[in-house]
């Protein structure tokens, strides 16, 4: 039954298991934590390596000798302008304050998504499962389309862009400087198991904007009584301080950290319970309430607290989520660190519902149809857009300035090697 027990597969299995346990790229020849391979924690999750045989070449680092002879930070800008003998990186990026985006998140941040076409028999065809190998080797996450670090065009034809693409548009020197350090089931409690996969050299790299967005698993679990397992405000305080101390010892000076609050998840039951699940659309025989109940019975409901017919439990879960958000707010207001400034932002799902209403949408259209739990791609991009607008308004220094050389960078380097 365990295919990995076959001798000829043992080695590759060991490597894949290591990659999954540590959230590090499976294929990383020079071990600099950046990869030329898309899945298995490759460039779908963090900027693509432009030289996987040199560990000193990777996205986000300060240029080596102004990249006169090679692109040491993979932003596609290198070489010397023949007109004046000045290296392009010096000419276009010096003083522009480049910075990277790093997400510390959970399945929502990694954009967990099971395509409904895998379950709807009436629409099924040979093409329905073409993305299954990619999904499997990316743990059913689609970070390349996520609200924080997505670099692919939205599959929903949405204009809004990810936070990374906003940053790249603001300063083309930020090209490829993104890291999605997220994991399905990620919470303040288990972040310490995979935060080591964050890559930033305090001396050699540019500053980073780190978004801490553990938005559910501290109050979500599959237990029959989920409350005892929920993280308490005291535990959260301790866990987050541990994370922030780790960041202070790794992030370059001049970085920024934004703590994201938790949502009020009662929204899920209220907008989905009596709607048909994709499995129930053909015969009108399976609602989300039944799916939630089935998952709870099996004790694998991703969030029994909110995905439950028990109103009292839903309210309790939201109260705890609010207490944890208040704790994050308190940390941001009272704790100081050497290498970064610290901010707090509410998880304003209500605001993006209003925005979606304004566009003629329905709230249930903002939730992943198969799991009935995660924000879908549209919701992620609306959240990213709202995040960008709020930060631009309240803390413009976090985003850096518009680079006046963007158009010249595009003129000389085009798409800068793409992603």
């Amino acid at each position: 039954s365990d295919i990995c027990s076959l001798p000829f597969l043992a080695k590759i299995c060991k490597k894949i298991k290591f990659s999954i346990q540590t959230s590090m790229p499976f294929k990383d020849v020079d071990s600099d934590k950046y990869s030329v391979f898309p899945t298995l924690r490759g460039y779908h999750w963090r900027g693509r390596d432009c030289n996987d045989s040199d560990k000193n070449v990777y996205p986000g680092r300060r240029p080596d000798n102004w990249d006169a002879h090679q692109d040491s930070n993979c932003n596609g800008i290198w070489g010397i302008d023949p007109k004046d003998g000045i290296p392009y990186e010096k000419k276009f990026c010096e003083g522009s304050q480049p910075r990277g985006i790093i997400l510390l998140g959970d399945s929502a941040g990694a954009h967990f998504h099971i395509p409904p076409e895998w379950l709807i028999a009436s629409q099924m065809s040979v093409n329905s499962f073409s993305n299954l190998p990619t999904a499997l080797t990316d743990e059913f996450d689609w970070p390349q389309l996520s609200g924080a670090t997505g670099f692919l065009d939205s599959t929903s034809g949405f204009e809004e862009k990810s936070i990374y693409l906003h940053l790249r548009k603001r300063n083309r020197c930020n090209h490829r400087d993104y890291q999605n350090i997220s994991r399905n089931g990620g919470s303040s409690q288990n972040l310490k198991k995979f935060i080591e996969s964050l890559s930033r050299n305090q001396q050699l790299d540019h500053p980073a904007i780190v978004i801490y967005a553990m938005i559910g698993n501290d109050v979500c679990n599959g237990r029959a009584d989920p409350v005892p397992e929920m993280t308490t405000p005291e535990q959260l305080y301790s866990n987050v301080m541990q994370t922030l101390k780790h960041l202070d010892s790794h992030l370059p000076e001049g970085s920024h950290v934004v703590l994201h609050g938790l949502p009020n998840g009662t929204f899920l039951w209220e907008n989905l319970h009596d709607r048909y699940h994709p499995l129930g659309q053909l015969n009108k025989d399976v609602t989300y309430a039944q799916v939630f109940s089935f998952l709870s019975c099996l004790k694998i409901n991703p969030c029994h607290g909110w995905m439950s017919s028990n109103k009292t439990l839903r309210t309790l879960t939201s109260e705890r989520a609010q207490q944890l958000s208040d704790t994050l707010k308190k940390i941001a207001a009272s704790e100081k660190f050497t290498n970064f400034d610290l901010f707090y932002m509410d998880f304003a799902f209500e605001e993006i519902i209003e925005e979606w209403w304004r566009r003629g949408g329905q709230p249930w259209q903002l939730i992943e149809p198969v799991d009935g739990f995660h924000p879908n791609e549209v919701a992620s991009l609306l959240l990213a857009d709202l995040f960008w607008k709020k930060v631009q308004l309240q803390w413009p220094q976090v985003l850096g300035k518009e680079n006046p050389f963007n158009s010249q960078i595009e003129q000389v380097f085009g798409d800068q090697g793409g992603h």
Partner: protein, 122 residues
Amino acid sequence: HSSSHHCVGCVMVMSVITQLTQVHNSTVEASMERLCSYLPGKLLLKTTCYLLVHIFGSDIIKLLDADMNADMVCHALEFCKQDAGQPQCHLYPLPKEIWNLRQKKSRHIVKKSVTMKYLKGD
């Protein structure tokens, strides 16, 4: 947890097979073949599908042809199990008495199954 995930996976796959049979007005066997044909060859996905059909296909055909729903098939094949003292988990609503009747029948069907004997063995 892993057995719970096996149960959810089984019920989803059986639901899809049942619905393919309905949508294409075909046999259960044809629907299983169709589903496997939709899968890519990468990561041994198509191969694994045909292997599972080879192992469980005949039991699935007998059970679905005997009007069992996805929940019952997965309980009969033991992808879904009811732990002692725990409620029986199912996705589709069905009155208890009908469930119990059908379950007896499904057990009878798989009793002669070579696959189940093999799987029950060491």
